[in-house]
């Protein structure tokens, strides 16, 4: 019996609370599952709860769904899977590298460099767009390249003014997440359309959607992984450094295996975010790479109160994540997610 175990009555109160929350958590999921097996009459006649007892389950909704009468489910499902997996793998990899760098290495960016970047990017865009008469995309690309080059160049020379450290860079990354997604989504749509006119098709493509999702997952990945990396004992890395192991091998050979729990949790959160994301998919896709949330939301406006078919469609979006939770629980039980930090 360890100190962590609850003793006496507390144990049963805690159990009662957990069971109550379990019921609250599961009822909606149970409800949508049984509704998808109801017949139209079984829905309209009032609430029924137990299959075979107070209603006769049918497979109508599911056969309609799987036979393709309710839209391109197979295609949409594959698009969601491919985009979701690749975006979260890329975001987790790129984001944890950045997070590690921000925990272990010293970064010093002069505030003036940042100001130069923003001013040149804005000024270049306005000049290109309204004075030189370039298109939106062209002036934006020129402005971006010029701003980046000037900013990097200016960081080489001595500039006065305050210096931003690692915490400020983390704050900048995380603050990207504060930006209201609705305007980002619409502005991205306009940028993608402009890029399409230049010959790079990005609207309704794999690249365009994945790229957007990676960018919008990165802040959360960096925030979460930074905490995990900061909690790792630095002594192991210091020992490796004494032996002259190069930094990249310290990261991939020592740090990544040690932070598997954090990486897996972060990957899961990112995947759930991308899989369920609505707004970006709405603007950046239209047919080929449309994702499940769009299709599910469409069921509502198209079908009104046809709850049996709405429920089946919702379940197609829900079930893969439930399976993922199951896999994760196995990982947890095998100790991958628990013991590794200690």
């Amino acid at each position: 019996m360890s100190v962590r175990d609850l003793k006496g009555n507390g144990r049963w109160w805690a159990l009662a609370g957990c069971l109550l929350w379990l019921a609250f958590t599961f009822f909606p999921l149970y409800w949508v599952a049984i509704t998808s097996f109801k017949s139209p009459l079984g829905v309209v006649g009032g609430p029924t709860y137990l299959p075979f007892v107070d209603f006769e389950p049918t497979l109508t909704a599911w056969s309609e769904l799987l036979s393709g009468q309710r839209g391109q489910f197979y295609n949409t499902f594959m698009a969601s899977t491919i985009v979701g997996l690749s975006a979260s793998v890329i975001a987790t990899a790129v984001g944890s590298m950045a997070a590690y760098a921000l925990v272990r290495f010293t970064f010093e960016v002069k505030l003036l460099t940042g100001v130069i970047f923003v001013v040149v990017a804005f000024g270049g865009y306005l000049l290109g767009r309204h004075v030189a008469g370039f298109g939106q995309a062209t002036s934006l690309i020129y402005a971006f390249v010029a701003a980046l080059a000037l900013a990097i160049g200016s960081s080489r020379i001595r500039l006065p003014g305050p210096i931003l450290g690692n915490d400020d860079i983390v704050f900048w990354f995380v603050s990207q997440r504060m930006f209201p997604p609705i305007v980002a989504a619409f502005a991205l749509f306009l940028m993608y359309t402009e890029m399409g006119k230049l010959g790079f098709k990005l609207v309704d493509t794999y690249t365009g959607l994945t790229f957007a999702y990676v960018a919008f997952s990165l802040p959360i990945v960096i925030w979460l992984m930074r905490d995990f990396f900061a909690a790792l004992p630095i002594e192991v890395e210091e020992a490796a450094m004494v032996d002259n192991v190069p930094s990249w091998r310290i990261f991939f050979g020592i740090v990544v295996p040690m932070s598997k729990p954090g990486l897996i949790a972060t990957f899961m959160i990112t995947l759930a975010f991308v899989w369920n994301e609505f707004l970006f998919a709405l603007f950046l896709t239209n047919s080929r790479w449309q994702t499940l949330p769009i299709l599910v939301a469409g069921q509502n406006s198209q079908r009104g109160d046809e709850w049996w078919s709405i429920s089946a469609a919702a379940l197609v979006a829900i079930i893969p994540m439930v399976i993922m939770a199951g896999i994760l629980s196995r990982l947890m039980r095998s100790g991958l997610l628990l013991g590794a930090i200690k």
């Binding site: 100190v3 929350w21 272990r104 971006f144 504060m178 930094s247 949790a265 994540m321 947890m332």
Partner: protein
């Protein structure tokens, strides 16, 4: 301790470039349009109006109403999520019977698409055919207007938020609880500190940094709520459950008033930044005290 090594550039540049490319365009685009009068339907040539859009918005009572509604939804739901999430995480951390099962099943709501959750909520909250109506009828309150009367509708949205996002709070706090050292509790038990004292004296202060982070994330995310409200009430009745993002959507994509929408989104950004800064400023002394 941080060190200096040229390889740091290799580590940080991929993330930096992606975020710069994807975030700078929306920023430039919407900041420049927020100072212009720009409509797509009917198409009129863009005209520079300075702070006109902002002034117009600040005088619009609808903006204040929407901001207030969003604030209520965000604060109440995050407070509930934190209290419930912390309690459940504590129970799970203390090896409640069946802990393995709870641990997995409690995470489920977080993984369900908000659009799907909203559709399920509509079914359950249906005033004539839903199961909640049947339950309330037993208690003698038939046909309550769950989604068509302001107070009920806001309550319904908050419940859905709590249902969906408490697992996130729980997951993060549980991960934090598991890193707490056992020996502090052993020492406290030797001193005969009861569980209540142990919680306020040890657990809560040690969990403060991660709590601050989790509540911050949830608060910011809650302010951006749209899909749940969109499917459940559509902002109704009237505009009484309309949130900031939904307002922006209505202005931008029903009226195609881009300048106004961009200004709105920047005001939205300012509101969120102010709330975030105030929140961090209030909590900073406590965080430093317990370092």
């Amino acid at each position: 301790m941080t060190r200096n090594d040229p390889i740091k550039h290799f580590f940080i540049w991929p993330a930096l470039l992606i975020v710069l490319v994807i975030s700078i365009f929306p920023l430039i685009y919407s900041l420049t349009t927020s100072f212009m009068s720009l409509r797509l339907v009917p198409p009129i040539p863009p005209r520079f109006v300075g702070f006109g859009n902002y002034a117009e918005l600040l005088q619009n009572p609808r903006f204040w109403h929407v901001a207030w509604t969003t604030t209520i939804i965000a604060f109440i739901s995050v407070a509930l999520q934190y209290v419930i999430g912390f309690s459940v995480a504590l129970a799970l951390n203390r090896n409640v019977p069946g802990e393995g099962l709870f641990r997995v099943s409690f995470l489920l709501p977080m993984l369900v698409a908000p659009v799907a959750v909203a559709l399920i909520a509509r079914q359950i909250l249906n005033p004539t055919m839903g199961p909640l109506n049947e339950l309330m009828t037993i208690f003698g309150f038939p046909n309550l207007p769950f989604l068509t009367q302001t107070r009920w509708a806001i309550g319904a949205i908050i419940s859905v938020e709590v249902w969906q996002w408490t697992p996130f709070v729980m997951l993060m706090l549980l991960a934090g609880l598991q890193t707490l050292p056992d020996d502090v509790y052993e020492a406290a038990a030797l001193e005969n500190a009861n569980s209540w004292q142990q919680f306020w004296g040890i657990t809560f202060p040690m969990m403060l940094p991660i709590s601050v982070a989790v509540v911050f994330i949830r608060l910011i995310e809650s302010y951006k709520i749209i899909d749940t409200v969109f499917v459940m009430t559509g902002g109704g009745p009237g505009i009484s459950t309309e949130t900031l993002t939904l307002f922006a959507y209505q202005e931008g994509f029903k009226k195609f008033n881009l300048g106004y929408t961009s200004a709105l989104s920047f005001l939205f950004l300012i509101v969120i930044t102010v709330i975030g800064l105030v929140y961090l400023a209030i909590l900073k002394p406590y965080l430093e005290k317990h370092k």
